[in-house]
Symmetry: C2
């Protein structure tokens, strides 16, 4: 079965390439809807695409507020601004939460893969104190992880399935809106239109 | 009357100072709730604080989607990441929309001041084609503005009144949560707590 690459994905891969000298080029802002109905927004790290798809991977801790928020409302919008090439991607879609209790063994494999793809130092974060609770102790709970051990229960993978992408190049003033539709056989198809900035 | 500076404001002023060599340090991501109930997220430019207050100013076009969204739900969250000092500010609050039809003459003065504070080049943007509509023409509608002319009707000032600020320093791992309360005489008071990152 052939894979059709989403037309905005090549633009994003180009932006990642041309900004790769900047550590922060893999950071983007993820907006969700808070449990109080207000918007919520934070920086997270891009962990790549799932295989050849256009689904975006994000690692997080099951104890963070965004998990509770996404269980209430699975929709999110990424705002990703590339500071060197002056390009912005607004990626709207639905997020699938994959924690250790997921019944789908295929999904658990993707979660495990993302765990091992992250550095031992970032794996350590999941062994820390409960995020967002009052800070009571300076002592870290753990100082090392067994590099061969699988994901801890706090480790959670988020998979964002994009439905609409708003691309804007501030240098050329080009703005493109990419919209997906489902074909009759359930395949995702993308259309694009040039719109006013 | 004395003005009490919000405790997080000094941290933000320090971050602006230490990142001021980077043009993009004045850009942040503003999350709102879309008319379809989904999160919406885009980069906007920081236009300073309103006088000595902790209210954040943002210039925008009345024809952008965020105006419609904020009329439905006035709450927003800023996520502001400083790429050189590795500091993140998540600023949650309510937005007041000040367009040319505002009945409050004091607010209209603030709007006018923000118009004249912006560069002639950024003023030109408000004379362009309708943002987000299909791009039909390469020709810009206007190529110059009279520098002494007041704000055009498309020019809109947003004033965000912060209620909660989540500060996180990725270098030191310090995370502070600032929460505001209203005193009995209607003054805003801030409390802060160190929380786990």
């Amino acid at each position: 079965m052939g894979t059709v690459t989403a037309p905005w994905k090549q633009l994003l891969l180009n932006a990642l390439e041309s900004n790769s000298h900047l550590k922060h080029s893999s950071y983007f802002q993820l907006a969700t809807i808070g449990s109080n109905g207000r918007p919520s927004n934070r920086s997270v790290v891009f962990r790549g695409f799932h295989e050849n798809s256009d689904n975006i991977l994000i690692n997080t801790d099951t104890r963070t507020r965004k998990i509770e928020e996404l269980k209430h409302c699975p929709f999110a919008e990424i705002c990703w601004y590339f500071t060197d090439s002056w390009e912005q991607f607004r990626i709207n879609g639905r997020i699938d939460i994959i924690d250790g209790s997921n019944p789908d063994s295929e999904k658990l494999k993707i979660r495990e893969k993302s765990w091992f793809a992250s550095s031992p130092r970032s794996r350590l974060q999941y062994l820390g104190h409960y995020p967002g609770l009052p800070h009571l102790s300076e002592e870290p709970q753990e100082t090392s992880v067994d590099p061969s051990a699988g994901p801890v229960s706090e480790f959670c993978l988020l998979v964002l399935d994009p439905e609409q992408v708003d691309y804007y190049n501030l240098k050329t003033n080009l703005r493109l809106m990419f919209t997906s539709t489902q074909s009759q056989i359930g395949e995702k198809c993308w259309t694009s239109e040039r719109i006013n900035p």
